[in-house]
């Protein structure tokens, strides 16, 4: 293309185009007096040829300009838009403008000028489209008197692509005064961090007489590589000197205008990419709901008992659609766990090389989907467990050979569904927990009083105890170490559990059980005195009624009952939560046998009310943290019920037992 001098064709191109413009003008004038479809076609053809020629012969500005006119004519041509006086007027000005461009082309001057840029924008606006930021710099200066609030969250790959946020920040600083607040909440642990990926975000306040276009131009190259919002700053007062704390919260930031840094980071709600098919199915569902609603609407005016079955059918339909809608909406938040697993091949390779161990990593169930929030927070605990498995679980090749095992250790990460939960297992075929060392350490730390008769389960549980391990411990202990209590706490915060199983010489399995979603749980509501408590269905084993003589009292005030061959402690919820007028006698109430963290207890309640779905509201956010309670929900009658934190209660129980 570029070996030929295209300039030799310029003259011909100019001539035919000017002829085309003449024809276009004539047709537009004819149209103004009420013309026909053929006129519209001829106008379109003229514009189309000019656009094609301009692009071919090296007049991209003319091509871009004509492209907008052509788009508008295209809409007229296929009937999406009626031709009216303003459009004819706009097209006539387009003809004049193009003539001017050809004049300048012949004179060798730049083709575009302020007039053509402005007209191009008007054409684009008529088409109903915004021109990409670069071209719009000159036009519609939309300045905000209070300045701007820019939320900027680069995608992970932006740094490697050569767009350094530092450079963008410097360009912004050239526009006006900046107050920059970095958001660090998504920066992974150092071990898990790929330093060439970006996990930072920024909230930037820009004051000064700056147009939105000028800001957008700074971000022009990274539009597709970041989440970006540019909002006018809502200034109650004229922009003050940059005092971060005093600035009003952005629009709609729910009442917490006074909260400074905290509010800013929680404003950053993140985003989810959603497939069109998922949205389409939602729209279908909403359509169904509308139909059902119309059907039920018939009963508003008058209800004839003979039509009861129709009403029942309508209500059943409504229930069905609501459930499906709920599932679909939840589905939008679900993402495959593979995005978290992806980081492990590299981590395992680096770590095993460093430690001189041979490790084969198996990953199963990468497609298992998890709630986005859970997914974001499960990464760190998993990294911890994987590091631990390689660091302390798997043996060196020499030791493995000596033990008659394959020199190559296996580490398996597996995710799968079980009931209403997602289970993630980290399995190694290493040496297993070092029972003696752990007991010795726990004795030394005062976590237990004696190592006698302690079950393997209890030994496993010790490593999760706060204070069991510190960084210093790991080096002199061949067991597991660093911060397992943090791992457990993180998982529990997500409404999940961690359990450990270990066999000496054969390996260790960590099992993380996570809820599918944090937003809604299936629960059983139980009465305790005048109160109602929700027990998550996933943790319920069975409900039983006990005769009074089935309960054994133990020293220290605890109560036990026999269940499937084992003695389990009883937790009286009315005592635990201080409920008045609850039933006191075991035989008058009911025991709900619940399980979490591999432990079981019986919750004593007055009776069951029924099964229901509970929308979880954070108690911490609205009140404060309460031991044994994971959240609250609102019942159908508008009253509030608390949701029992089964894992927490079981932990409290075992701590009481150990004390």
């Amino acid at each position: 293309m570029s070996t030929i001098n295209v300039a030799q064709f310029h003259k011909v191109f100019f001539e035919e185009s000017l002829e085309g413009l003449d024809a276009m003008e004539a047709a537009l004038l004819a149209l103004d007096e009420g013309g026909d479809a053929e006129l519209v076609h001829s106008i379109f053809r003229a514009a189309h040829s000019i656009k094609g020629g301009a692009a071919t012969f090296g007049f991209p500005e003319m091509a871009a300009f004509t492209h907008e006119a052509e788009s508008l004519l295209d809409q007229v041509r296929d009937g999406r838009r009626a031709i009216d006086k303003p459009i004819v007027e706009l097209m006539l000005r387009t003809v004049d403008c193009l003539r001017g461009m050809f004049d300048r082309a012949e004179a060798g001057q730049p083709l575009a000028d302020a007039g053509s840029e402005s007209l191009k924008l008007q054409l684009a606006a008529a088409v109903g489209r915004e021109i990409p930021a670069a071209a719009t710099k000159a036009a519609t200066k939309s300045a905000a008197p209070g300045g701007w609030i820019i939320q900027f969250r680069p995608h992970a790959g932006m740094l490697a692509g050569g767009n350094d946020p530092l450079r963008l920040m410097r360009e912004l600083a050239a526009l006006g005064q900046l107050v920059v607040e970095a958001q660090l909440d998504r920066v992974p642990a150092l071990d898990a961090l790929d330093p060439s990926e970006c996990h930072l975000g920024w909230r930037i306040e820009l004051t000064g007489a700056v147009s939105r276009e000028a800001i957008a131009a700074v971000f022009e190259w990274v539009e597709d590589e970041c989440d970006l919002s540019i909002e006018p700053r809502v200034a109650a007062a004229p922009p003050p000197a940059p005092v971060v704390e005093a600035v009003a919260a952005p629009t709609g930031a729910g009442g917490a205008a006074g909260a400074s840094r905290h509010a800013a980071s929680s404003n950053d709600a993140g985003s989810v990419r959603v497939g069109i098919d998922k949205i389409d199915s939602l729209i279908d569902l909403v359509g169904e709901l509308v139909i059902t609603q119309a059907m039920l609407d018939q009963f508003r005016e008058a209800f004839d008992p003979s039509r009861l079955s129709l009403l029942q059918e309508g209500l059943a339909q409504l229930a069905r659609h609501t459930r499906t809608l709920q599932e679909s909406v939840m589905g939008i938040r679900m993402l495959p766990i593979g995005s978290v697993f992806n980081r492990f091949p590299r981590l395992v390779r680096d770590l095993s090389q460093k430690l001189g161990k041979h490790v084969k990593l198996d990953m199963v169930g990468e497609h298992t989907e998890l709630d986005k929030t859970v997914l974001e927070k499960i990464g760190d605990p998993l990294v911890h467990l994987v590091r631990n498995a390689i660091d302390h679980g798997l043996e060196t090749p020499e030791k493995r050979r000596a033990a008659g095992k394959n020199e190559v250790g296996t580490l398996r990460l597996e995710a799968f569904h079980r009931g209403g939960s997602i289970v993630v297992e980290i399995v190694d075929d290493g040496a297993g927990l070092n029972r003696e060392a752990i007991i010795a350490k726990a004795l030394q730390k005062g976590l237990i009083k004696s190592g006698e008769g302690i079950t393997d389960e209890a030994v496993g549980d010790l490593i999760f105890q706060p204070g069991f391990s510190t960084a210093a411990v790991t080096t002199d202990l061949s067991g597991r170490g660093v911060g397992m209590d943090v791992v457990r706490r993180n998982v529990v915060d997500l409404g999940g559990n961690v359990a450990i199983k270990s066999r000496a010489g054969a390996g260790t399995t960590f099992t993380i059980t996570l809820p599918l979603t944090l937003a809604i749980i299936d629960g059983l509501s139980a009465a305790v005195g005048d109160e109602c408590y929700i027990v998550p269905l996933v943790s319920i084993v069975e409900s039983i009624q006990l005769p009074a003589d089935a309960v054994r009292s133990v020293t220290g005030g605890g109560e036990l009952f026999r269940f499937r061959g084992e003695y389990l402690p009883i937790v009286r919820l009315h005592q635990q939560f201080g409920c008045a007028s609850a039933r006191q006698n075991i035989e008058d109430g009911l025991l709900i046998v619940v399980e979490a963290d591999g432990g079981q207890v019986g919750l004593f309640v007055d009776g069951l009310i029924g099964q229901q779905q509970a929308v979880v509201k954070s108690l911490e956010a609205n009140y404060r943290r309460v031991d044994g309670i994971s959240g609250a929900t609102i019942l159908a009658d508008g009253s509030v019920a608390l949701i029992v934190d089964v894992a927490g209660l079981i932990r409290m129980q075992s701590r009481r037992k150990a004390a």
Partner: protein, 106 residues
Amino acid sequence: MGGKSKGVAGTSVAGRVGMPADFRIADVMDMHRQLRDALNVSPIVLDGSTVDRVDTAALQLLVAFQRDAQKRGHAVTWAGASAPLYDAASQLGLAQTLALPAKTSA
């Protein structure tokens, strides 16, 4: 590739981590390794006094390091921070997070 030859400033001895003159994304892996190792040491002294060029990737690395070290209760102090390092951190709103000292010349 280069990078390796600047190693004198970039080695960690007894809890001291020095940063290379060109501390940017293309050469950031080596510092990542050093800082990961440094997580097992306390107290740690960071020396950024010879940093000439720095980018977001490098600063993010320091942020992750500082936060993780803090989580482990380790003490992190700065032996020095060059003007380019200080300016870049300020521009990204990270100077306080990194607890950078006032500028020191190289």
